[in-house]
Chain length 214, copies 2
C-alpha cells in the first residue's frame, strides 16, 4: 500500500517529518507505518519513552520535559530541546521547532486517545498550523484529520466516512457527500457523513477541519 495516496495525505509531496504526540501510542497499521517510514521523528516529551520502547530512536525530543523519564532525559540529553513556556502545548512546540528547521510537511501520530480535552485541543490546533503555512495532518487509529481554508476537493472511496468540523465558515456547502453540509454552529453537526464516490468537494469561506476515516 502506498501510504501517501491522496485519500490519506491530502498534500502534493510526502511529509518531511513526523511528530509523535504523548497520547495513546498508535496501534493501527497506517500511523505505525508512518513512524516506521519516517526520516525525522520529533517526540513530544514523554512520548520519547514510548517510541524507545518500540525500539525507535527519535531525532529530537521537544517539550517542557515534565513527562519524559529521567533515564531517557539523561541518556538522550543531546537531542532534547526543553521549552518551558506554558502558553503552547508540546505538540505546538514540536511544530514550531520543525518550522524553524524549514520542515513544513508534517505527519502527527499519537495525538489522541487519552484525555478528551487534549484530543480536542490537538485536533483544533490544526487550524493554527495551517495558518503557519504547514502541510500537516493527524493520523489516528481511525482516520486522518487536517485543516482547510476555503474551497477544496478531496479524494475518497465510495461510502468512506467523513466528518467536517466548522471553525470559522459562514458559507459551507458540499458536493459528493450523503448529507448536505451547512455553516455548522456546533461540532456534532458535521459528524458521520459519507462520500458518494471517488471525490467530494467543499465550498467554504473560512477554516474547517476534515476527518476522513480509513
Amino acid at each position: 500500500m502506498c501510504l501517501y495516496t491522496p485519500q490519506y495525505w491530502p498534500f502534493s509531496a510526502p511529509p518531511e517529518a513526523t511528530i509523535l504526540g504523548n497520547g495513546e501510542y498508535p496501534t493501527h497499521n497506517i500511523p505505525l507505518q508512518i513512524i516506521e517510514n519516517s526520516k525525522y521523528i520529533v517526540c513530544c516529551d514523554g512520548s520519547a519513552d514510548k517510541l524507545l520502547a518500540h525500539n525507535v530512536i527519535p531525532n529530537l525530543i521537544v517539550g517542557d520535559c515534565d513527562s519524559v523519564s529521567s533515564e531517557v532525559k539523561h541518556k538522550y540529553c543531546d537531542i532534547i530541546r526543553q521549552i518551558n513556556e506554558q502558553d503552547t502545548n508540546d505538540q505546538t512546540k514540536a511544530v514550531k521547532t520543525l518550522l524553524s528547521q524549514n520542515k513544513k510537511r508534517i505527519a502527527i501520530v499519537g495525538a489522541t486517545g487519552n484525555r478528551e480535552d487534549h484530543t480536542i485541543g490537538n485536533i483544533a490546533l490544526l487550524v493554527e498550523y495551517n495558518k503557519m503555512g504547514t502541510d500537516i495532518a493527524i493520523y489516528t487509529n481511525y482516520g486522518v484529520l487536517f485543516a482547510c481554508y476555503g474551497a477544496q476537493t478531496f479524494s475518497s472511496r465510495p461510502n468512506q466516512q467523513i466528518s467536517i468540523f466548522n471553525v470559522s465558515c459562514k458559507t459551507l456547502k458540499s458536493n459528493g457527500l450523503t448529507y448536505q453540509i451547512y455553516p455548522f454552529t456546533n461540532w456534532w453537526q458535521g459528524t458521520l457523513n459519507n462520500a458518494y464516490g471517488n471525490q467530494f468537494s467543499i465550498d467554504a469561506d473560512g477554516d474547517y477541519i476534515v476527518m476522513i476515516s480509513y
Copy 2:
C-alpha cells in the same frame, strides 16, 4: 468516596439513569462505579455486548441495532428498542428514550475513546441535551464533561485541571481559573486551564462545555 460530590456531578440530585455508549468501555474507577451503582442502564446498540461481558444486564438496548450481536439481540429481544432513523446517533436516541420515561438526570459513560469524530460529536451533543431540559454529564476515564448556559459557579479542588469549550458565547469570562478565559473562536483555546481553589465561576451569555479532570 461519594460519587456524586459537586466536583463530579454538578447537579442537585443524583442521576436516575446511565447510558453506556459504544465507545471504549470504561477502565477508571468513577465511570465503573457509576455503572455499578446505576438503577437503570440504557445501552447504545453494541455496548450491550460489552456490558453483558462485564456481567451486568442492561434495562434497555437502544439504537439502529447494527452493532449489537445477533445472539444478544435474540436473547434480550424484550428490552431492545430498535430505532432506525439516521438523523440522530445512538446516544441521542438513548437520551430521548429516557426523556420519554421522564428520566432527565442522566450519566453517560463509554461515550469516548474510539473514533475521534464520535468522541467530539458525543461531547458536543451535550449542548443539545441541555436544551432538552436534562441534567446530563459524560464520565470518561479522565474527567466529567457537561454543557452550561450563562453564568455558573462550579466546585473544584485547588489545581484541578479544567477545560472550557465555547459553543455560542460572545461574552465568556472566568473567576478562579489560572488563565482568564475569553470568547474563544476555536476549541483548543479553552483547554488546559486550572482551578485556583475550591470553586470557580464563569460569566457567559451562551452555551459552553466544561471538562473537569478527576
